[in-house]
Every structure is written in structure tokens, then in C-alpha cells.
Symmetry: C2
Subunit: 189 residues, 2 copies
């Protein structure tokens, strides 16, 4: 999507270790108008998969997942990384290695909000190694739901996430696909 690519080119910063910093419009400061456009675009691309729920991971997946869910007219669930006191003792929990955090994180969803026969659209900010998204897919499957699509704002295709997600057998969409990046240079597909 041109609008997102242009914003990444203008305001994204390539840091060491394969990190793309988009803290000024996605991850710490959020541009709500851009998130709305992205949510509308995901809703358009996934119109035919008949999702009944959007699933994401806290924290930075929340904004694009919320706007996508808004345009699809379905609820959004964000997997928690720590179990809040309001959550029942019996939960769906999986572990996912986090590249940017340099450690494994827990992804936790309450069975109250992910039940049998949901059609789950997974939305996240990044598709890099795909490990977080695979974790979310495991949670969906554990609940008896079916993953029907995967969308990410920004894909770093050189990290192989798309291949890792192939086994899900679903439509995968990214709104900006980065094929190469170095300090001062970001190349899109």
C-alpha cells in the first residue's frame, strides 16, 4: 500500500540487528488516520474470508487489529503477555520467541473470548520470522477456532516469515513488504 510505504520511507529508521523503528507512527506514537486506512485495506483484502474475530498480540498489534475489526464489524481479542487478575485460571497459553525482545514471551488468551468455531483473522504490526503469528495461530487452534487469514502492516520478507506460515494454508497479506534494508535505504517489493 503506497501510503504506508511512503510513510516508512519518510519516517522509518533502520537500526542495527535488522530492526526497523516505526515508533513515530505505529509502535509508540500512533497515527490514527493511517491505522484507519490500513484497517480498511485489510478489511477489503479479507472481505471474502468471513472472519468472525480478529486476533492480535499486545501491544503493538492492537492499533491495526482494532481498526481492521472496526471495518469488518467484528470483535478483536488481543493475546496478553502476562495473565491479568481478571482472567480465569484455565487459559490458552503458548510460547513464542521474540526477536526484538531477545527472549521467549507468553501469549495468553482466555477461553471466554476464543471459542469453538470462530473464524479468526490474525493481524499484527510486523511479519518477520512469523513466530508470534504462529503462536497466535496455535492459540486459535487450541480453542477449536479456524485461522482464516493473516495480515501484517509491514513484512520483512528476508526473515522468512511467509514460508514459516505456509503450513497454515491461508491468505497472507502485508501492506508494505520490505525486501532489503540498510541504514538510510529501505527497498520494497
Amino acid at each position: 500500500m503506497k501510503e504506508l510505504e511512503e510513510r516508512i520511507t519518510r519516517d522509518g529508521q533502520v537500526l542495527g540487528g535488522g530492526i526497523l523503528k516505526v515508533d513515530s507512527f505505529v509502535n509508540h506514537q500512533v497515527d490514527p488516520a493511517l491505522m484507519d486506512v490500513c484497517g480498511r485495506e485489510f478489511a477489503r483484502r479479507f472481505a471474502s474470508v468471513r472472519a468472525t474475530k480478529v486476533l492480535t498480540a499486545e501491544i503493538s498489534g492492537i492499533a491495526p487489529a482494532l481498526t481492521t475489526a472496526m471495518h469488518l464489524g467484528v470483535p478483536v481479542v488481543y493475546a496478553r503477555k502476562t495473565k491479568p487478575i481478571t482472567m480465569p485460571d484455565q487459559v490458552f497459553l503458548t510460547l513464542a520467541p521474540s526477536h526484538t525482545k531477545g527472549r521467549t514471551v507468553e501469549l495468553i488468551v482466555s477461553p471466554e473470548y476464543l471459542a469453538d468455531h470462530e473464524r479468526v483473522l490474525i493481524i499484527d504490526d510486523f511479519l518477520a520470522s512469523g513466530q508470534t503469528i504462529l503462536g497466535l495461530a496455535r492459540l486459535a487452534e487450541a480453542s477449536g477456532s479456524k485461522v482464516v487469514g493473516v495480515g501484517a502492516l509491514i513484512e520483512k520478507s528476508f526473515e522468512g516469515g511467509r514460508d514459516a506460515l505456509k503450513s497454515l494454508g491461508v491468505q497472507i497479506e502485508s501492506l508494505a513488504c520490505i525486501t532489503r534494508m540498510e541504514e538510510g535505504m529501505i527497498e520494497f517489493k
Copy 2:
């Protein structure tokens, strides 16, 4: 706001220890249409304060803050509770006691996104003791910004947060103000 009060009455659960569980539409699963209505209402109530930025705290403040910012046409910044690797070493950091977590949490904002002379509208999911909101106000003030309003989806008036925030001298709005609650009974102002 009638719509939010009705939803709390229908789907909210009063747990022990003064906890109101709204995980089915605010905190774990989010109803995007309801959040949109709430954001529009905050934008209406704060139309005259001329906010240039919305500030909230991760995680559960993000949804209402995002929709408010969307309707105001300004960016939203969410204070982080752990410092991500993309953040510079020099940050604004304050501590806030968290009732629901039973411990003190850090609230961290990068000076990149909260600068001199911003007019900051603080939005959060709950106004209970007011400690998180006071923490956000300290971050705003540390950056040289001015807090121009405080909005919370749900106020628990019996926890005294509104009094604690009086020193800010700004307009305070809650969309649902709970004056009393017990298991099976929630009373609104």
C-alpha cells in the same frame, strides 16, 4: 454515556477487591464499534481544549485513546511499561502504583514524541485512584507539555481519583461513573 453504562450493566462483572471485569468489550476482547462511539464522545467533550496529542498508558488505554485521537485528528502516544530496544537511552520515566497489578509500574515516554508546548489530552480505560493518570501527567509536564484534559471510559468514583486529579486544574470526563458496586449490582451516578 448510556451506551457504555448499558454494556457495563450487561457484560461487566464485579470481582472481589473492587475489581470490575470488562474483559469482554474493553480489556482483552475489545468491541471496536463501542470504542469508536466512546472516542467520538471524548472528541466532542474535549473539542474546546485544542489538544495536539492524546497520551495514554499501554495496554488497555490504547483502544479508547486511539479512537479519540482518530476523531480529534491528532496522534496518540502510549507510555510504555518496559523500555523497548528502539527507544533512546534518555527517556521520560515515572513510577505509578497499580492497584490491579498490586505493584508499582514504570511509565516511559520517549522525548521524540512528547515535546515542548504540546497540548496533551490524557485518555485511559479506568479512573480509579487516579495514580496512572497522575503518572501520565507527570510525564507530560516533564516534557514541557501542558495537560489540557483527562478522560476515562469508566470512573469508580468511590476510589477518589477525581479528587486526586484536582491539582491538575483541567476538565475531567468519564463516560460511565460508577458510584457503588457489589457482586451483581452496579450503580451509576
